[in-house]
């Protein structure tokens, strides 16, 4: 199975992937730098994806917009999504849970590696 990492910051993607690799995770990691690109990756890989790590603020299409669409697509609606964002405001957290009542997690950057790993562990297949 594969993990999809969606973040417009190459540095943030690299950091996140490094944490995953160092922890010994063997899942293939797919990357997208905005919501538009993530849609394209999802369209052709959704059956193999076990988890989406999703940034909020991105150009072209934000993470929250993408998530709002994902939960309405039957083939994608059960995919676990963890928001990984710099915005830790209560309002944003509330909005994320409103958009996706099954939100699998909400991590605020900068996160500790152990927080990330604990959040993703239940979803690795």
């Amino acid at each position: 199975m594969k993990i999809l990492v969606v973040d417009d910051s190459l540095l943030d993607r690299k950091l996140l992937i490094r944490v995953l690799m160092k922890s010994g995770i063997t899942q293939e990691i797919l990357q997208a730098e905005d919501g538009e690109q993530a849609m394209e990756v999802l369209a052709t890989n959704y059956r193999d994806i076990c988890l989406i790590l999703l940034d909020w603020q991105m150009p072209k299409m934000s993470g929250i917009e993408l998530m709002a669409g994902i939960v309405k697509v039957p083939e994608l609606s059960t995919l676990p999504i963890i928001m990984v964002t710099a915005s830790g405001s209560d309002e944003n957290k509330r909005m994320a849970h409103q958009v996706n009542s099954n939100l699998a997690g909400y991590l605020v950057k900068p996160y500790k590696p152990e927080e990330l790993l604990a959040a993703i562990k239940p979803f690795l297949r």
Partner: protein
Amino acid sequence: MDDFEPLDLGKFRDIVRRESARLRLRPGPDEREITFTLALALSAAVKKIFYEKSATVFSDEPRIMIKPVVHYAQRMRIDAMEKYNAPSVFSVIQLGVNEEALGRQEYQMTVIIYLERKFLPEFLRLLQYPYIDSDDDLEAKDGCGAVVNLIVGQYKNEMAILGYKDLTMSHFESFINTAVDGVGIPKGVFDKYEIDFEIEEANRLVIEMMTLPSLPKNIQR
């Protein structure tokens, strides 16, 4: 037998757009402010052209409205007849960071002008262009294309004043009444600005502008 079918990307995109609009997830106030400023600059460019080339005065201030884009595959569906409820001609220009980006259909902005076909010769006369036969499709398309070239050329000057980098213009494409395959617009844009200009109390020029909010800017020194 593997029955895996990729998702229909067009439908997926439509769902995202619909949910985003329903939940009012976009655009943020900052993005809206930026794109509105760009729409204002476009209306200023048109006013400047008329001020310099014609004695024509617009009956009223241009009316700027935000409307949803109707997507067609990854393009925008267009029905020019809606603008004037009469046969119309329209021309499209896309702006990209360079020729290569335009070739890849990576647009930063799309500008469309709509003119009522029967008013086209008069409109061109106001802008000091020679007479054209608006019943001739080729002449009508070419005349409308000349207008969009003029407007977008002036608009680029206005954008430079706002600190934006000089974008590369595509060649214009003109259509009568409709564009069967839609027109190319920037990816991920869900709203368009429609600007209406009145001459002698009648709507004589309609411009639509779709833009990314994050256009490249010149570095401030």
